[in-house]
């Protein structure tokens, strides 16, 4: 097991109150595995990633839990010790390719900085490795493009550069936070293809964050569905698509556009909106949007429990367990 996140909670202390953007989440990532985290905007995906990276900015802070990376709790490390891991053993690609590169640095310098921070190599070797990485991520004539500034490249190209930078030190874990969201559909597919290819080539584990379940079906091994900072369902990708349990997952799946869909019916959308993080419903966070809401749903918080190889947080399956399935938490 490469990483084990245990009961992680992250809070933002604001003037109007405290937002618990990540609430008691636990999961594991195996070596070489692609784990996807899916959820609508605001469900706490990026905050989870930033917590792992130790990149939370004020007023955000980890309120509790452990982030065990190769059995070492990252949350207990000093910034200095974390810096040795960041960009080296764990690296990250961000949601915004257009703005994530320094506009006044040549891209080769940005990648070389990463390499020279973590590897004992000469300038020349770092440059050679940079060009090799640019080539690997599919940038044509990499030796010339290495001299470009970010503004001379398209969004897709910049995301490739980010990927090259993130992979330049051969990380064990790559966190890709919605790497395709800001890109054209065709480019999105290319970048996903690239991530997949990189995993094959370098064998690193990938934490793939997305709000698009369509992306997940193609790339991931296992999926975590997040809602309002909580894990509501977790399963391997086949079984999640074959038999989604949580009403929220069902809603997400129904709202994926089907290419072969001939009917003129408008695309399904989950009704309502993500609740304001400062005014969460009392019971199940999904209760005000759920089609199958029970009476107790708005009173109590359901627990995450094992059901048919999934983990799911919903009272509907509590009923099943009472009906004899003998499910323990």
């Amino acid at each position: 097991m490469l990483m084990e996140v245990k009961a992680l909670s992250t809070e933002f202390k604001l003037k109007r109150g405290t937002v618990r953007a990540v609430d008691d989440i636990s999961f594991t990532i195996d070596e070489g595995e692609i784990l996807a985290i899916v959820g609508e905007s605001g469900s706490g995906k990026s905050v989870t990633a930033l917590s792992i990276m130790g990149l939370l900015q004020n007023p955000g802070r980890i309120a509790g839990g452990e982030i065990l990376f190769k059995s070492q709790d990252l949350n207990k490390l000093s910034q200095k010790e974390l810096q040795k891991i960041r960009g080296n053993r764990i690296s990250m690609i961000f949601q915004e390719p257009m703005t994530s590169l320094n506009p006044v640095w040549r891209i080769k310098d940005q990648i070389m900085e990463s390499i020279m921070t973590h590897m004992k190599v000469s300038q020349k070797e770092a440059l050679a490795r940079t060009i090799e990485m640019l080539d690997t991520v599919g940038i044509p004539s990499p030796a010339e493009r290495a001299n470009d500034y970010p503004h001379q490249m398209s969004g897709g190209m910049r995301q490739r550069v980010m990927t090259a930078m993130a992979l330049s030190c051969g990380p064990d874990l790559l966190i890709a936070d919605e790497p395709t969201t800001a890109l054209d559909v065709t480019i999105q597919a290319q970048i996903l293809e690239l991530l997949y290819r990189m995993r094959e080539k370098f064998g690193m584990a990938v934490l793939l964050i997305t709000h698009d379940l369509g992306v997940v079906s193609e790339a991931a091994d296992r999926v975590i569905v997040m809602y309002c900072g909580k894990i509501v369902e977790e399963a391997d990708v086949k079984s999640l698509f074959a038999r989604p349990l949580h009403p929220y997952t069902v809603g997400l799946l129904q709202s994926i556009p089907q290419i072969d869909d001939e009917s003129d019916e408008p695309l399904y959308m989950i009704k309502g909106m993500v609740p304001n993080p400062l005014r969460m419903p009392r019971g199940c966070p999904f209760s005000d949007r759920c089609d199958r809401c029970l009476e107790r749903c708005s009173q109590e918080m359901p627990k995450l429990q094992d059901v048919d190889g999934h983990k799911v947080r919903c009272f509907l399956y509590d009923v099943v367990s009472e009906g004899g399935h003998a499910q323990n938490e």
Binding site: L55, N102, T117
Partner: protein
């Protein structure tokens, strides 16, 4: 880039023509007739007429302007009505004092302004930030002449640490080569003169720098705060480089780009002559002198000075733009049309 610079220098011509026409007209419309001031109240009609004729003031205005501008093109700005000295000599006698003071002031202002601004941004809401912003607030709101007088009372009057008057002890005055005493005294190899020059510069430069420093501090702080929020700063942190390096190598370069413009504009205005500072510190610069010339209707001097200052202002702006293009690769001036 070279093309761009050439274009900008060519654009100087219409600017200067416009500026010269405006001063020319303003002086002739709003200034009192120079003849009685130059010759005295009791000059005869005849003498006045003769003086006007001799100084070309009886010509039609367009002809006067034509004569002025053709003269200016050959480097002849005319002679002062009072001293009868060539205007260029009058300017050269005073302008270096203004430039020297302005440069020292802008260096002080930039150094401290950027330093305080950056630290305030990095340590936002800390005690340092609060004190820094208080200093900046005082800096923008305190009138320069008042600050000047306070400095004189304290450091010159009470403590006797620093001189408050003029550019140098007259006994030590170096031979004028450049007109910049810091340079001239070094050329002469006279360390006493050099130190004395520096001592004379401290108080007026501080008074003059205060406002610019306050502006630079505020702009630096807000620009750095904005830069530190940018996605590429997060990327830099994600690389695992130290926070110090993130700030020095990634944030500073980006955050200071807009500050270059601010410094350029402030320098431009300081070079125009700091009238109040020069008056308070009896600084023999161009600002206070020009004001006297305006009041005395010394047309040739005023026209010459304004033309020179306009040129310098435009040149400083050009230099700023060139530096800007150098700092920010996104700007390609060759593609900007004239």
């Amino acid at each position: 880039m070279l093309n761009y610079i050439l274009k900008r220098i060519l654009m100087l011509i219409p600017v200067l023509i416009g500026v010269s026409i405006i001063v020319f007209l303003i002086m002739r419309v709003f200034s009192p007739d120079p003849a009685p001031i130059v010759l005295g109240q009791h000059a005869t009609q005849l003498a006045t007429e003769a003086w006007r004729q001799a100084n070309g003031l009886n010509d039609p205005v367009y002809l006067q302007y034509f004569n002025f501008i053709t003269g200016a093109l050959t480097g002849d700005l005319g002679t002062s009505y009072y001293t009868k000295m060539p205007v260029s000599k009058e300017i050269f006698a005073r302008f270096p004092a203004t430039i020297e003071l302005a440069l020292v002031a802008i260096v002080l202002a930039s150094f401290f302004g950027i330093l305080i601004g950056v630290i305030s941004a990095v340590k936002k809401n800390s005690i340092f930030d609060n004190i820094g912003m208080l200093i900046a607030l005082i800096g923008v709101s305190m009138p320069i002449f008042w600050l000047g007088i306070l400095l004189i009372i304290l450091f010159s009057g009470t403590l006797h640490w620093l001189p408050s008057n003029g550019r140098i002890d007259p006994m030590l005055q170096p031979v004028a080569v450049t007109g910049f005493y810091m340079i001239d005294s070094l050329i002469a190899g006279d360390m006493d003169a050099f130190t004395d020059t520096l001592q004379h510069l401290v108080l007026p430069a501080t008074a003059l720098a205060m406002y610019s420093m306050a502006i630079i501090t505020r702009m630096t702080r807000s620009s750095m705060l904005d830069t530190l929020q940018q996605d590429y700063i997060r990327t830099a942190r994600a690389k695992g480089i130290s926070e110090g390096r993130v700030i020095r190598k990634h944030a500073l370069r980006n955050g200071l780009i807009p500050i270059v413009t601010v410094i350029g504009l402030l320098l431009g205005s300081l070079l125009g002559g700091a009238v109040l500072t020069e008056t308070v510190f009896s600084w023999p610069g161009i600002g206070a002198y020009t004001v006297t010339c305006i009041l005395k209707s010394d047309f040739p001097v005023v026209q010459g000075v304004v033309l020179l200052i306009a040129t310098i202002f435009v040149m400083v702006n050009l230099i700023v733009d060139v530096i800007y293009a150098f700092l920010d690769p996104r700007i390609k001036y060759s593609k900007v049309k004239g």
